[in-house]
């Protein structure tokens, strides 16, 4: 491929670019700028989506939940299963990073300050500490342990509304497994500050022992679960999970099943970005077409002379191909370099994008979204960068060369 | 009014040690009605001298005067205005503006000078009649032959009644019959209206018609011959 002729033509192509260095630079710069902007926006939204996902999974949902069949069907907590050693060994394996077996109970509190519906989660504290960092965000008091009984930790928002303090006793109303309405006194052991006001107002935590005693009136001595909330590397780990619980009746749900509103937010972002990207690609292609065409048009006399001297159409295409190749490499390289530097920097320091919301952080489906976004640089984006440049410059050069050579054929 | 070049040098510094004289100690006086030619081989400096007279480039040493005023002291924009007010130009390749008709090409410098519409019309028609193209005013350059284009170029140069007309190889791109016609036109304009012409040329037919021939070699006027055609 790199024989003498090709090398010569390649050198010729390079010299043609250098001859119109300013214009070639301008063309390459325009394409690079367009691709940097477009891909940066993709990186921004990739980062945004990643943080939305993180915010969602950090609300007890996890990336996945394995649910007992009855709970999966009707959210009925009355038939929990045992979180046996066997099951634990099957599940708590990479890529699963942590697992929190939980019992779920609907309840409420009612005081002169008002009433509030609660979700009472019975957790195994050691597992839960690996799953969610609530234990690190205990503002007052302490986190739960396995031995304590009739202790509860509540959110700061709930504490403020109902004027609760540490060691206060709160009356929890709920229905037990027989359907009887019951009220029990629980001692507030800790107050946490985590994940926004809606979260703090809605979720309260007790240990497994307390939960079982409340719901079943007795403690089985085992760790039970209605659901096991799991953290992993991402949604692609579903296949692993499915293989692990293959011969059971357990059901897998991912966070998108459990929070469809947020799932759609991500889909919407993705759709918007793809649309935006296509528009940018088409726009830049249209606007670059003319300058590239003109670069070839003004060399027409030269090409005609070369044709008279014996240069074939095939060779002209080769020259054009080499020119396009060089421009693509240069433009692609500088775009990639600049993008990598820019996004790597921003991935470290973050970007406060609240200016897009007039200074206010977005909250959706009860989840406060981060105001500082860390754009995500991925290999995908760099591949897309190059493909974009290839598409834009490739089409522009191909069209320009085709039209010029067509005219050459007509005139010679 | 008189144009004068006094001990004018134009030096181009090609490298540290290497200086090239585009013009060397040029002394030249151009009076009203002069019909002169600068003659010499390619690269001798004829065009450099024309550019110096036109104020397009400034001399390294010496001065250019017009009616006693030092042109070299003027700013770039002032020299442009000076060219507009006092000079006309004829180019080897006509240099007509392709998007304007013959009439509009001639009109162009008159517009820049700020003449009224009536005056412009009068002058353009006068110029067109002088060059024999009265009926071609609304044609575009691509619709005219080479000779006709050069005539339009001449009309453009003279429409403003300049004090000096500079012509750089005006007959180089013309066939001999047309060239002869153009040369006769120059002669007529010089004799009838006392228009001052200075040519840079190789064309012997034109050289034979001028009153003064200045031979240029290596940027210097090596010889001046006066003769009457």
């Amino acid at each position: 491929m790199l024989n003498d002729e090709n090398r010569y033509l390649f050198k010729f192509a390079w010299k043609s670019i250098r001859r119109h260095a300013g214009r070639s630079f301008f063309i390459g710069f325009s394409v690079s700028l367009a691709v940097v902007i477009a891909v940066w926006v993709v990186a921004f939204f990739d980062g945004f989506n990643a943080q939305i996902e993180k915010a969602v999974v950090n609300t007890n949902i996890g990336f996945f939940q394995i649910q007992d069949p009855l709970f999966a069907k009707t959210t009925d907590s009355s038939s929990p299963l045992e979180y046996s050693e066997e099951l634990k060994l099957k599940i708590e394996k990479y890529p699963i990073l942590s697992a929190s077996p939980e019992l779920v109970l609907d309840g409420n509190i009612s005081t002169p300050e008002g009433a509030a519906g609660l979700i009472i989660l019975g957790i195994e504290p050691q597992n839960h500490m690996k799953f969610l960092p609530i234990y690190k965000h205990i503002k007052e008091g302490a986190f739960l342990n396995q031995e304590g009984e009739f202790e509860i930790i509540i959110g700061q928002e709930l504490a403020e509304i109902f004027k609760f303090n540490i060691n206060d006793q709160m009356v929890l109303n709920f229905q037990d497994h027989l359907g009887n309405l019951r009220s029990e006194l629980l001692t507030i052991k800790g107050i946490f500050n985590f994940n926004g006001k809606s979260f703090e107002k809605r979720f309260v935590y007790i240990n497994q022992k307390t939960w079982q005693k409340l719901f079943f009136n007795s403690y089985s001595g085992k760790i039970l679960f209605n659901r096991i909330a799991l953290m992993s590397d991402g949604l692609r780990d579903k296949k692993f999970l499915e293989s692990r619980i293959d011969n059971t009746q357990l059901q897998i749900r991912n966070w998108k099943d459990l929070n469809p509103e947020m799932a759609v937010v991500l889909e919407f972002h993705d759709g918007m970005i793809k649309f935006f990207f296509i528009i940018i690609a088409l726009t830049i292609t249209m606007t670059i077409l003319t300058p590239v065409r003109m670069l070839w048009q003004e060399r027409f006399k030269e090409l005609k002379m070369m044709s008279i001297l014996g240069v074939s159409i095939k060779k002209f295409w080769k020259i054009g191909f080499f020119e396009a190749f060089l421009m693509i490499v240069l433009s692609g390289f500088f775009s990639t370099l600049f993008l990598s530097l820019l996004i790597s920097y921003q991935a470290k320091v973050g970007l406060d994008f609240r200016f897009l919301n007039d200074g206010v952080a977005i909250e959706r489906a009860g989840i406060k979204l981060p105001g500082i976004i860390f754009p995500l640089l991925t290999m995908n984006q760099l591949v897309v960068t190059f493909l974009f440049v290839i598409f834009v410059l490739g089409i522009s050069y191909a069209w320009s060369i085709h039209r010029t050579l067509l005219r050459l054929r007509e005139e010679t | 009014m008189q144009f004068e070049l006094i001990h004018v040098d134009k030096i181009y510094q090609v490298s540290e040690e290497n200086k090239v004289f585009g013009a060397k100690d040029v002394n030249l006086k151009i009076g009203t009605g002069d019909f002169m030619a600068l003659v010499g081989p390619s690269g001798s400096g004829k065009t450099t001298i024309l550019n110096l007279i036109a104020g397009l480039i400034l001399p390294t040493n010496g001065s250019l005067k017009h009616g006693g005023s030092d042109i070299t002291a003027l700013s770039l924009e002032e020299r442009t205005k000076h060219r507009l007010d006092f000079m006309g130009f004829i180019f080897q390749d006509y240099q007509l503006l392709p998007i304007l008709t013959a009439y509009e090409n001639i009109e162009f410098p008159l517009q820049l000078k700020g003449f009224s519409k009536k005056e412009i019309d009068e002058r353009v028609h006068w110029a067109l009649s002088q060059v024999g193209l009265e009926k071609m005013g609304n044609r575009f350059p691509k619709q005219l032959s080479g000779g006709q284009q050069q005539r339009v170029s001449i009309a453009r140069a003279i429409a403003g009644r300049p004090e000096l007309v500079l012509a750089d190889e005006p007959t180089a791109n013309l066939d001999s019959k047309t060239a002869q016609e153009i040369i006769e036109l120059f002669k007529k304009l010089n004799q009838e209206f006392k228009l001052t012409f200075i040519f840079s040329t190789h064309d012997q037919r034109l050289i034979d018609q001028v009153n003064t021939v200045m031979y240029v070699k290596d940027g210097q006027i090596s010889e001046t011959r006066n003769h009457h055609a």
Binding site: G22, A263, T287, T290 | F108, L112
Partner: protein, 402 residues
């Protein structure tokens, strides 16, 4: 400037020098402009339509309440003991497009399960007329204005407490006199909000039933909800609070503003990209005419003349393209006014949930006047900025000798 007409003619003729090329330049700018106009119209009017549709379902444009009903710093919290009546609203015209509601945080019990929900007592006939809530009932029917003690539940709620049509549920709460309120109600319908949170936490009954449950007088209620979406200004009522939806659902307002602002950002990017390409093309056309500019300089045209003529060229090109673009934008906007745009296009067909409810995906787009001058101004600014370099280059290179 003397001879401005000639200058204009000169600039205009230069555009016609290479008509195909000029056409491509104009087209690329006009298509970009048209897209931006459409896009901005879509973002603005589209979001307004989505909000209208969303608010029409349940939330309403604004609420008239007791001034202490909503908590000052958190409008999600309310004090159910703060009630009002129509005698406190002097302007009776406000009653036409508004409907009364009684709110009651209660427990709804099925056979096996009890959940806390917000029971809302509705003026059934008015609700059917003013809002689209009744249309969200997909199983059974909406409330009968001539009956009482009927209840409509969110589908998910019914599923959770394991009740179906025709079942009776126990409703337990706190009456305004402090006593325990309880009632048996019959499930007549299930509302489908697309599986969002609201479906689990809302229940509806006739206003009379709610008033009786809470031991309220027949003229007493908690909210007057307005559904007149054409309202531009909020009424001022002495002694009462008027709370607009953006305060009640700030997260929705913020999301809408985000889309709006993001669309502007996209528009700026597109204009920048187009301007760069245009200035690239224009620079090449200018450089092609380098010799001509030299001739102009030689025969006496000053730099300013040449500069102005080039600027006029760019301005003319830009103006023609912008006008064409505005037309294209208007035509495309008009098209989507008559044939609404399906916003599920962005989600690959998946339903869009906002504020716990499914949004009706078909959105009518209509023109927003301010964009028809803001966008041209933005384009002119960008065009001018991106022309600076080509102009400087060309002017510099034109100052040459013969």
């Amino acid at each position: 400037m003397k001879g401005f007409k000639f200058l204009l003619k000169f600039s205009y003729r230069n555009l016609l020098r290479a008509p195909k090329r000029t056409l491509i330049l104009i087209l690329s700018l006009s298509i970009g402009t048209g897209f931006i106009i459409w896009d901005l119209n879509f973002a603005n009017s589209g979001s307004k339509e989505v909000m209208k549709e969303f608010l029409n379902q349940y939330a309403g444009e604004y609420h008239i309440t007791h001034k202490d009903y909503y908590r000052e710093d958190n409008k999600k919290e309310f004090n159910n003991f703060k009630i009002i009546s129509d005698s406190e609203i002097p302007d009776k015209s406000l009653l036409t497009f508004t409907t009364r509601r009684v709110t009651a945080p209660v427990f709804v019990s099925g056979e096996k399960k009890t959940l806390g929900v917000l029971l809302t007592g509705l003026e059934t006939e008015k609700e059917i007329k003013l809002s689209t809530l009744s249309k969200a009932v997909t199983v059974g029917r909406f409330l009968n204005p001539n009956s009482d003690k009927e209840i409509v539940l969110g589908k998910k709620l019914a599923h959770r407490i394991e009740v179906k049509l025709g079942d009776e549920v126990a409703v337990i709460g706190q009456a305004l006199d402090g006593s325990v309120a309880n009632e048996l109600m019959t499930v007549v319908g299930l509302i489908d909000f697309g599986g969002g949170d609201l479906e689990e936490s809302l229940a509806f009954t006739q206003i009379k039933s709610a008033q009786e449950l809470l031991v309220m007088g027949p003229d007493q209620y908690h909210q007057r909800v307005d559904f007149n979406m054409k309202d531009e200004t909020l009424p001022q009522i002495k002694g009462l609070a008027v709370t607009i939806w953006t305060d009640l659902l700030p997260e929705i307002g913020v999301s809408v503003r985000f889309v709006d602002n993001f669309t502007w950002l996209v528009s700026i990017v597109i204009v920048l990209v187009i301007s760069l390409g245009l200035s690239n093309s224009l620079m090449i056309t200018f450089l092609e005419r380098e010799q001509e500019f030299q001739t102009l300089n030689i025969i006496g045209a000053k730099t300013i003349w040449v500069t102005v003529s080039l600027l006029i060229e760019v301005f003319l090109l830009g103006t023609i393209a912008i006008l064409l673009g505005l037309l294209l934008g208007q035509i495309s906007t008009n098209y989507f006014y008559h044939y609404p745009f399906n916003i599920q296009f962005f989600t690959g067909g998946k339903p869009i949930i906002m504020g716990g409810m499914i949004i009706q995906p078909l959105v009518r787009i209509y023109p927003v006047l301010e964009y028809y001058w803001k966008v041209p101004v933005m384009i002119y600014i960008f065009l001018t900025m991106t022309m600076i370099y080509p102009l400087i280059r060309v002017i510099r290179r034109s100052k040459n000798a013969i």
